[in-house]
Symmetry: C2
Subunit: 160 residues, 2 copies
Amino acid sequence: MTNPYHPHNHRHCIEDALQEARSLCKDKGARLTPLREKVLELVWQSHSPIGAYDILAELGRLEERSAQPPTVYRALDFLMEHGLIHRLSSLNAFIGCSHPSEQHNSCFLICEKCHVAQEIEHPSIDASLKDCAQSQGFKIIDSSIELTGLCPNCVGANQE
Amino acid sequence: MTNPYHPHNHRHCIEDALQEARSLCKDKGARLTPLREKVLELVWQSHSPIGAYDILAELGRLEERSAQPPTVYRALDFLMEHGLIHRLSSLNAFIGCSHPSEQHNSCFLICEKCHVAQEIEHPSIDASLKDCAQSQGFKIIDSSIELTGLCPNCVGANQE
DNA sequence: CAAAATACGTTATATTGTAACAATTATGAA
DNA sequence: TTCATAATTGTTACAATATAACGTATTTTG
């Protein structure tokens, strides 16, 4: 998996994500329509979360007939349902999922400075969460972990 | 600490929280004004997170002159700054902090059915998160962990 | 093909949160 | 105390995010 902090040909990230989405949807019999694919592509335009209304504006720039909010939110709902994107509730924004084929809990490192959000996976986190919930008799259905701070690129560079 | 899932005299929770808030603010030289204290009390009215506009409505019921949104948000900002409440971003709602005197990362178990949110603390969670972030070179400034599911009371009771 | 399900368009509105400035109240130094 | 300053609250207006409801078009399936 490419490291979002390093320079890279981001077109590859986008293409890979779209390719995997097509394949996954085909397997599941889910309909990745042109609109939904376009929204997924827009979400993947960078490694920073993007807001629904920014997607809406991008769509507006591309099509003549400008879309309305429900159009975007419905596409986002579809993409979330199928694990292709995540919603970062602390930012009211959306970001592409870096490993949509595996069942996983979403856990993000969000840089306050450059706004890159990296999805991480660590068995020990899952384990300790599950442990802790279990000791309380709590059954986890969904988990949202959002860690805000400074990414390796920005932690060194002194804030201007 | 009282267990939010068990029946208890909730007036005690409220009184304890207010008492601790007064004491903490006094120590820090922070001004817990009547308005702020009232908002804190409303947040503590139950163990379920409450929305800003619900607080606003409650204030409206109590006072003749009805408050405006900025009044409530400013009070909430003050209470968050001093660690007296937390914001649950997945719900756009606020809940009283159960141990405001200790520096800690917020971690909540949120029941989908009864809406009780329990704040938990587990060294192993903090440790594994820190570990994982560190291995990426990421410096955590703030963390938000929100686990949604079924609390011990509701996990048994079959959903109607 | 026809019927049903799914997806999308469109209008209107709900919900959550903030900017900006005025009025008031508390604080602290002279 | 008294005035100057800072902090808090009031007030108006609006920004940003999200959804309800219903109509139309497209796709799927028998």
